[in-house]
Symmetry: none
DNA sequence: TATGAATGAGTCTTCATTCAT
DNA sequence: TATGAATGAAGACTCATTCAT
């Protein structure tokens, strides 16, 4: 869909184009979009192929089966998330509060707002039917993700910026709202009818606000029986 | 079926009457379990029928189609949650902190820990394919649920127990972790491989703790740019 | 295709007839005919179903897969051959020459002239692709068949009717022409063009004649270097 | 196509000339091996091409279709057998018994033991699906082959070495065991499980022995009703 | 000529749905 | 009502064949 292609050529779309390198990526993109949109089962391989601009048979040139395609979609879109992220946080300068706020905003920008959030939805929806994908996601996304958050919280506690916390659980305090937000975007949030649209910016702002209030060192705990 | 049921019962239900009324319910139960477990598409109607102890044909006597069954499952299991809940909270005596804590614990006991949490998973997973179900869920569950939480928070703010809050957003501060917890239970949490099991009790305890800390009136807000 | 069905009823062929017991047999018959005629690969399951008067789906109600159907066809048509045969020969009265002649004629009547000969063709044609079928055929047909022939020859030798023979090999002296005859019938013999049609009666007559001549005790062996 | 090939090369074999002429032969060899091994339908053209060391597309440069390739395989491997054979037997010196023995041994050496036996298997297995191939085989192999055998038998009868025979049928007395042997080698004989392996040498030895015994002139015929 | 990416008609197989009993 | 045999539309996948390079 380059500009030229819109201007020139009423001729014809070149058929039987040979683009071996590009194909898998195009198919993966098409599959991601459709799987996220309609779910794995409700997406026909022919649709994926069509969206990628190729025929059904071509898809099977690159992926052994529909399941194989599914797994490739997940893997492809998960792989490169954490390496860069980890670095960033290792060299972070500033308060732990800022760090946490930055983490959550960044999370949204780089995952929630991209197709990666579709992956999260997909994996959670289909985890039961694809245990190996679930395990893979667990080790490649959840574990490192949690570790990252935990690091931030530990830093805050160490520096006396946050009060002492049960880190194992505190991690979910950050993770849960973010995952909720991503899921929501791809389920209820995508239904036009929904009046209660969740605005990510405001949502995150509030979550951060409450979290930081709640974690900040203070003398008294609210009444607990 | 039992001998007694054949002997006693004066104005007795007719003998071979094999609980006609119960059938739809049994089918709905079976369908709920299987849909939650395997997803809508991966569940065969024959499995549902088998689990309910009837034949495939019988299922179609009560439900026009598989989709119809799906919608009935959702509707059936959503319906009656809030009436009783609302009452309970209208007459609640005690601090708003306790009220919030109670709300979240109750939520888990009555939804998270029951098949109702399966519904949430189901609806979120299939929302795209069943927009009317999503809309229905929105109006029957999400809206009243949010209203309930909002009420609690408003009470806390009014009474000066909580600091002033943007209630529209604050609601999600409570809702997000609970929905996350239910989703998790039915996706990643159900995969044996998962080492990072989330313990609901501890999870909720921590969430409440941080929330109350974070919402409780205090003089200084943590650094916000 | 009974006579009545041709006379009466211009009404309509009853659709959706329920004949659970009859179905597998009808399908097996249809499959046998088509497999023998066109080979396994060239036969479409839909053809089999159509020939059996049912729909494609019905076939899969009774057989898990096309391969499964193939194996069932073989098994079904092989099973009951030898039990009755063995008895017959155990109680045979008469010369061993007559016995051998009877064996070969009977072989043709009961196998060669029936669909069972199609099985032989089928098994030999597809043995490579279905090793387990080949093994099954080996143990259920070839081994008992050879044993039967061997018994007859041994009897002849014992009684001094035949000259001493290397029985292991002599068996093939009887078996080879019969198997050739069955194969021929279903391959070259079925092609109209073929001028050299093999007439089973005369073929067997000659084979028996030469065999008996050749096996009959005599003093001199023809020149062997 | 190289520049050199246009410039140099007086009568020299051009350098990069990759044996154009050899290609079809290599493909035919590969096809023969695979067709014999797996059957026509179960062999993919890509496998044939790979085995011949060329690409799939190249195969279609030389053969219009898979069927065309099949027919070429048969034709190619049948053609030149009989010319040399006929000569040999026209000038044979020695007893007709020796001649027959020699014929059968030679048959095995030059057909049974070579890929030509695979052709027989192939043709018999697929005769139904390729009637023209069957007809061709009939006229190019079976008719001349039978004629050859018939000639030998006639010679024996003429010379008084064999007893008078119905030659039309007697021919099969020789042909049947040989064809059986070839078929067996490529079907049951190729299945490892098979304990009853037929040893060609001993098999032929016995067949010849019985045939010669059976055909040799003698006064009495065994009891025939 | 040779390649191998691309095609799409053809098949097997599944499963929601129907309907005769 | 209840059954479950039968149906057939739909979908995954294969592979002979084509064609741009």
């Amino acid at each position: 869909m380059s500009i030229e292609s819109l201007l020139i050529s009423p001729e014809s779309p070149p058929k039987r184009e040979r683009r071996k390198e590009a194909r898998p990526g195009e198919l993966l993109d098409a599959a991601l979009a459709l799987f996220v949109d309609k779910g794995f089962a409700a997406t026909r391989v022919e649709e994926v192929a069509a969206r990628a601009g190729v025929s059904k048979g071509t898809l099977f040139l690159y992926f052994q089966s529909k399941e194989d395609l599914f797994k490739a979609v997940i893997r492809e879109n998960i792989a490169s998330l954490f390496p860069t992220w980890n670095e960033e946080f290792n060299s972070f300068q500033g308060s732990s509060a800022d760090m946490l706020r930055y983490a959550m905003q960044t999370w949204w920008e780089r995952m929630g707002n991209t197709s990666a959030s579709g992956i999260a939805k997909l994996v959670m929806s289909e985890a039961q039917n694809f245990p190996d994908i679930a395990a893979y996601y667990q080790s490649e996304v959840i574990r490192p993700g949690n570790a990252l958050i935990r690091q931030i919280l530990a830093r805050g506690v160490d520096r006396g910026e946050f009060r002492p916390l049960d880190l194992d659980q505190a991690v979910y305090t950050v993770v849960a709202p973010m995952i909720f937000l991503m899921m929501w975007k791809h389920s209820m949030g995508a239904c036009a009818a929904s009046a209660e649209i969740v605005d990510p910016e405001r949502f995150i702002h509030m979550q951060v606000d409450v979290l930081l209030h709640g974690m900040t060192a203070s003398t008294h705990t609210p009444t607990t029986p």
